[in-house]
């Protein structure tokens, strides 16, 4: 029996800003249906990695495949499989929530009727149906984040990547967003790459990738990470790993 195609497959990916190396020979996979947490402190190289995965940066070295599609050779097919939530907001504040959805739908070749039906369903799922006609600038930070997640799902991607999606949110909103995204895996078998520096967002069953100063320090299940570091909990393991000096010089 052939192995399932990974949702995301990075091989020997390196990236430099001039002489500074932001990512150094990164190789990992996100299995289909997995919730994979990319743990890293500020400057670890998470955002650079996201920019490479989303093709906003040119790949300098290595290869990236999304659902088996090579991002450099088949960018359109690969991007069609990808839903993205960036750390900073990407909604148009001057448009209404629904108009932001319709614009996103058009950019994926989805017509207005279909887009309207999907928008209604997705906004109901994130409990914002009543805000469809409101301008985005009138929403709270947590609501905007929920809208962004719902919008990222509009074109039905199979891999969702989120770059520190809970930054700046209160505890309730954070928990709600985590619950929403985890629900996607349970209901849809969607794969998720969740970048954060908060260890309390990781569940025991998650896959964890630890990135520090551009180097991949650990990759595997939480239990394996605890075993290899001898730490009592994930936070201690993360601190132990990232307090050791790394060779790279990340951005």
């Amino acid at each position: 029996m052939s192995e399932p195609i990974p949702a995301l497959d990075l091989r020997h990916v390196s990236h430099s800003y001039g002489a500074r190396k932001a990512l150094d020979d990164i190789t990992f996979t996100v299995p289909p249906g997995a919730f994979c947490v990319l743990l890293g402190l500020n400057g670890a190289g998470k955002s650079t990695m996201f920019s490479l995965i989303t093709r906003l940066f040119a790949l300098q070295h290595g290869s990236i495949r999304l659902l088996g599609r090579d991002l450099s050779r088949e960018p359109g097919a690969a991007l069609a499989e990808l839903g993205v939530v960036f750390q900073s907001r990407t909604l148009d504040p001057d448009l209404s929530v629904a108009q932001n959805f319709y614009y996103h739908a058009a950019l994926h070749g989805i017509g207005k009727t279909e887009a309207a039906a999907r928008t209604q369903k997705l906004l109901a799922a994130v409990e914002l149906s009543d805000r469809a006609k409101d301008k985005v600038r009138d929403l709270s930070g947590g609501q905007m984040r929920r809208v962004e997640i719902a919008r990222a799902l509009l074109h039905r991607p199979r891999l969702l990547v989120l770059d520190e999606p809970t930054v700046g949110l209160d505890i309730g909103a954070r928990a709600g967003i985590l619950r929403l995204v985890r629900g996607l895996i349970a209901s849809e078998g969607m794969s998720v790459l969740w970048a954060t520096h908060l260890t309390d967002e990781v569940d025991d069953g998650d896959e964890v990738i630890v990135l520090h100063k551009g180097l991949l320090l650990a990759n595997g299940a939480v239990a394996d990470l605890l075993k290899s570091t001898g730490a009592a909990d994930l936070k201690s393991a993360f601190v132990a790993l990232t307090s050791e000096p790394a060779k790279g010089d990340a951005r």
Binding site: T48, F57, T90, L107, G111, L122, P157, S187
Partner: protein
């Protein structure tokens, strides 16, 4: 919050209809944006009208215009200046579009566009089409008002000028897009005003015929001749009277191709400026 039913894994092909939807969506958003920015709408109309009602009225007695093609009789200065003001509307609109691209980049909206599965050159071209459509609507609004000011080209001219307006709009929009790839921050955009818009407009045939410029300064005449904006103005001027200025058409088409190619290369992360110094709005 409840789990979302998304039916993941939909196999969508980029058909011709999908391309049309994408183009329509980009035009729709550009139009909405223009309507939302009321100041931009008003100033886009007021700017050329101020030139027509005040500047042209003042200079009418000072500057006499001899019979030059495409005009077959003596004309008032107001009539002469109109193609230049039309091109000015398109010049400002092209630069406004590039300003909005810099704004989009800073706000992160640009990433939404560049994450689309459609080829990047198509997305940028669609963005240019959208900007051009907005500029053409502004031009017709201006021509409508100018009609009441006795600026009345032949009726067929209103139709025949349309292809010229599209070409000029695309050329100036491409130039704006290319410039937006060179500008790092919104604050730096004022340089475009000083180093692009003003020199392009004043060193052209928009305000005075080139034979007059030649009399005053032969060197400036050559600068005006080399300025693509001069050819944009002349293309519009001739088209308004049902004629084609072939040299201007060739220059405008050539410049449009070069600027568009430059903009597409600049926005390609594997080759362009954005890829070299960081993606649009990536904020890595």
């Amino acid at each position: 919050m409840t789990a979302v039913a998304t039916s993941s894994g939909e196999n969508r092909r980029l058909t011709l209809a999908a391309y049309a939807i994408c183009l329509k969506g980009i035009c729709w958003r550009e139009g909405l944006r223009f309507l939302h920015q009321r100041e931009r709408f008003v100033s886009a109309l007021v700017r050329p009208l101020v030139w027509l009602f005040i500047f042209a009225a003042g200079f009418r007695q000072v500057l006499g215009i001899s019979i030059i093609p495409p005009y077959d009789t003596y004309i008032l200065y107001d009539v002469y200046i109109t193609p230049g003001l039309i091109a000015m509307i398109q010049l400002f609109n092209g630069m406004q579009s590039s300003l909005s691209m810099v704004y989009d980049r800073e706000m992160g909206n640009m990433r939404v566009l560049l994450l689309s599965p459609f080829p990047r050159p198509f997305l940028l071209f669609a963005k240019l089409i959208a900007g051009t459509l907005v500029s053409v609507l502004q031009v017709y609004a201006y021509l409508l008002i100018a009609w009441f000011w006795d600026i009345q080209p032949p009726p067929i001219g209103y139709l025949e000028v349309l292809p010229a307006l599209f070409l000029v709009g695309l050329m100036l929009g491409s130039l704006g897009m290319l410039l937006s790839s060179l500008i790092k921050q919104l604050e730096n955009f004022s340089g475009v005003m000083n180093f692009v818009i003003f020199p392009m407009f004043f060193a052209s045939s928009a305000l005075y015929p080139l034979w007059r410029v030649k009399e005053g300064s032969p060197n400036l005449y050559y600068v005006c001749q080399a300025n693509p904006f001069t050819h944009a103005v002349e293309l519009i001027r001739f088209a308004l009277y049902g004629e084609i200025n072939w040299i201007s058409l060739a220059v405008v088409f050539g410049c449009m191709s070069v600027f568009m190619f430059g903009a597409i290369v600049a926005y390609d992360p594997s080759r362009g400026l954005m890829g070299l110094r960081g993606a649009p709005g990536a904020g890595a």
